[in-house]
Amino acid sequence: MTQYPPLIIADRTFHSRLLVGTGKFASTQIMQQALTASGAEIVTVALRRVDLSNPQDNLMEAVDRDRYLFLPNTSGARDAEEAVRLARISRAAGCDPWVKLEVTPDPHYLLPDPVETLKAAEIMVKEGFKVLPYINADPVLAKRLEEVGTVTVMPLGAPIGTNRGLKTRDAIQIIIQQAQVPVVVDAGLGAPSHAAEAMEMGADAVLVNTAIATAGDPVGMAEAFRLGVEAGFKAYIAGLGRHSWEAEASSPLTGFLRSNHA
């Protein structure tokens, strides 16, 4: 039996390589069932959606913190200052010092601001947060973030919620080649095959929300993504064959060179 290595982020070990988000679900019950079916161990929640001062907050209650790493995110923050302020508030309210850093000044495509993200990451790391930054698929930015001490990098496959798959494939490939921290492909993955593709390329994990939450059957889709991630990861470990677009000619075209020299 092949032994599969676990995912290690900062000092924690995870057996699932699928992270899931909690937005866009039709109800908290469906969300909880989908979380279970996904096998995820890390669940991200938008701080803007929860009332940290209320221990009975619906969404906070719905995510069992003994079972999942509760990963608050700063979605909605427009600059570093706002993101940092939000992270501090979440820690003050008793959340683990883990944060999915999202600085998305444009509320339409929700694309991450590289400058403010780097600035925020620097401050947060100094303050002791474990920072998982959401970034565009920019290999240089990924290295810069790694240098300031983020515990992952999370490049996007396509803009959030678009379900378009790995549109940034080539840049993600470079990030994976260069990274010394886990690479979690975040955003835009619309089908289990997209997740499998990212894992086959060597991504350490993926994060999925919209494609699960808005599926006809979110629970079934969560399971499908779990299987897709597993399949992709196992294929990566097993060593994928190289693409061969044409059958190799049985009599090589350059065979004459050898016979001439014979």
Binding site: K24, R48, R85, P105
Partner: protein
């Protein structure tokens, strides 16, 4: 540069004519377009598009679920004052109407918001008539400071202000601005706003620009359906929303669909908008602006609100009162207009859940704005 420079490049009658010339082929093409252009929007608003309503509705539903999920964000209006210096012919607060008027004290506003807070609301919209004498900007700043600890988001729908005044409000914790042009038809606008500061079309038109420059996180615009031809007004509101989203790229833009309701003064809409028209308008704007918020208020009756829910709506009010003090603070003050959906917020929330949507009470946080630290 403001939307004024943009809108003067368009002529109402030409757009009206272009809409009436659209063919079924134009509509099909518009529905297939990955990035619809203005001509596509006109096709979607045209009379022939009525034959494609079901396809448009399916596409609008699909886009909305993809972008916003199965969620509806809840909010409630809070009227601070019914004093007004304008004489808008359709409005119950028209200064010529002999109604009992009121302006709430800060404590009374707080009492209203406490009432809404107990019902679950964390997003409120503060409204006033246009009377800076009764409700000066400083007064609104005081109210915002007082309400901040109770709320996740405070928006305003008040008389137009300068960019600087908007900045002051933002610093005190107001994050959203709602202002309706009512109608983009310049002559019609003058007819229905015969006197008062609101007569100034351009000042009002540029209000969302000033709000965007000041840094509001949410800009909400709309037309008052019934004042002019909804197809042309729909095209202009679509154009305006797209302009704002592009220019103030850090603000989220949403569009409301207020239909004229009975109010003191007894104004009758000259261009009535029926339910089919409303559906077509909502779907057309969703296809034109996949990321825009679409807001539906209690002006619409309960049954229609249920049916409109899956067509692209992202925000809903519930249990609304349109009189200052109407929730808890006062009795016997008249409202701006009659609301139609009289159900309690809890009933509306149950309806939303029964349709497979999650009602979201909080989708913002006061700590985003710097004001939180003051």
């Amino acid at each position: 540069m403001s939307f004024w420079q943009k809108i003067i490049q368009y002529r109402w009658d030409r757009i009206e004519a272009a809409i009436s010339r659209k063919t079924a082929q134009d509509v099909r093409q518009a529905m297939r377009a990955p990035n619809p252009n203005f001509d596509d929007l006109l096709a979607l608003l045209s009379p022939v598009a009525a034959d494609f309503l079901e396809e448009m509705a399916l596409a609008a539903h699909g886009l909305t679920v993809q972008r916003f999920g199965r969620t509806i964000q809840m909010f409630a209006p809070v009227y601070i004052s019914s004093e007004c210096t304008n004489s808008c012919v359709y409005c119950g607060f028209n200064r010529h109407n002999q109604i009992s008027r009121a302006t709430l004290s800060v404590a009374e506003v707080e009492k209203e918001v406490m009432f809404l807070h107990r019902q679950g609301f964390r997003h409120v919209l503060l409204l006033t008539g246009e009377s800076p004498h009764h409700v000066p900007v400083e007064y609104l700043m005081r109210i915002a400071r007082k309400l901040r600890p109770l709320l996740a988001s405070i928006s305003i729908e008040i008389y137009p202000l300068t960019t600087n005044d908007y900045r002051h409000l933002i610093q005190n914790g107001v994050d959203g601005l709602t202002v309706y042009q009512e109608t983009y038809h310049i002559k019609r606008y003058a007819e229905v706003h015969p006197a008062g500061p609101k007569r100034n079309y351009r000042w009002r038109l540029e209000t969302p620009d000033r709000g965007g420059q000041a840094g509001f996180r949410r800009l909400n615009i709309g037309v008052l359906l019934g004042l002019s031809d909804w197809r042309v007004d729909g095209a202009f509101v679509g154009l305006h929303a797209a302009y704002l989203a592009r220019r103030y790229w850090q603000s989220h833009v949403s569009v409301s669909f207020p239909r004229l309701r009975p109010a003191a003064g007894g104004f009758q809409p000259q261009f009535p908008v029926n339910d089919t028209h409303l559906v077509q308008l909502m779907c057309a704007l969703r296809l034109w602006l996949p990321d825009a918020g679409l807001v539906l208020s209690t002006r619409e009756p309960a049954s229609l609100r249920e049916n409109l829910l899956p067509l692209g709506v992202t925000q809903m009010s519930a249990g609304s009162k349109t009189a200052p003090g109407g929730y808890a603070a006062k009795e016997n003050v008249e409202g701006q207009f009659e609301i139609s959906d009289l159900r309690s917020p809890q009933e509306v929330v149950r309806m939303i859940a029964a349709h497979g949507y999650e009602p979201v009470w909080k989708d913002w946080d006061a700590s985003f704005l710097n004001a939180a630290e003051h």
